[in-house]
Subunit: 233 residues, 2 copies
Amino acid sequence: MAQAPSSRTRIRRVPKRGLYDRATIAAILDESLVAHVGFSVDEQPYVIPMLIARLGDRVYMHGSTASRMVRKLSAGVPACLTTTLVDGLVLARSAFHHSMNYRSVVVLGTATLVEGADERADALEAFTEKLLPGRWDEVRQPNAQELKGTRVLTMELTEASAKVREGGPVDDEGDYAFDVWAGVVPLALTAGAPIPDARLRAGVEPSAAVTGWAAARGDQTICSVRSADSSAS
Amino acid sequence: MAQAPSSRTRIRRVPKRGLYDRATIAAILDESLVAHVGFSVDEQPYVIPMLIARLGDRVYMHGSTASRMVRKLSAGVPACLTTTLVDGLVLARSAFHHSMNYRSVVVLGTATLVEGADERADALEAFTEKLLPGRWDEVRQPNAQELKGTRVLTMELTEASAKVREGGPVDDEGDYAFDVWAGVVPLALTAGAPIPDARLRAGVEPSAAVTGWAAARGDQTICSVRSADSSAS
């Protein structure tokens, strides 16, 4: 197992779950559509969801030129980019040992504005391809005005760590005699059947990117998780 | 539509997507298993995933007494709790107008340590019930040592806002003539078939909480989304 790249990235709580190798970190970032990016303004932290894409040893975010967050991050303040993939409910025999299976990555550092035209273009392509591989070549490319209105930010994966919990519950030895069902309920982000836009031109079928992606995902049944009664307020 | 509770919670980017009514905020928090909590240590923001549960006008988190994050937050530093539910890929006719459908909540404020025995007990029950409604009454309740090792933190929903994007792509007028498929691919966190623990006692069937939850979710097929090729590093 690789070592933590810095003291502040070292996993302290349950250190056996800490992973620092680049392949593990890259795989979790690549599977995450959205990361949560933290930065402070006047001592108040803000945590904002952003679409991410990774290219090599960098992770990219983007936003409007008019975005306060983008302006703040562009100024070079310390930031933290975190993503978490929820893999399952871990149901133990005691309330205390209930848990979740997950894979998370934390990247510490400073976001910088991408100014080079080539790197910007590559990142914009990566965002579209992240949503749907093959999509970039099917759609209209950004024009000059769109490029001008978009800021691309990047963080290096220098100070990054992953934390992973997997497998079944770990109960206190005395609780294994307890006659309650224990195990894992797997969870995954899944895709439903594509919904055509109301203004789709007659006769336009789902593109190769859409059908290829759906085919690779197998069954398209939606079985949405409502983890608690959300009708109360 | 309710008004923003403070200037710093007001949605500035695409303000029409901002929602401030308590029912909307509560529903998003209740559907979110995990939130991302931000706080700063020595000017460096950290963003950490935490299981959350809501009771009334408060959102709760918990962690070990030994956790640095829990100690920091207990000390009363400014914090930000954010959660994002990813609802779909929005596929437009231009790369620029690609987007995601999502529902997010941002809570600003200060986390405080829950010291009252009754509120602590209610929160611990809420965490287990959040994972699986009905589970609390099936499992061994926390003992004195477990209670002592657990810290419960809470934030008030005073300064909270929601942001929601829904519906299909919005393209530039000239792009609607373009013969590319456009629409939405719905995404949802879905459950697979429960996996029994290796040490489950012979003859113990899934509990009422597990079967009731699975039945309410309908089809259990897993169709895991890999949003990008995660084999590269």
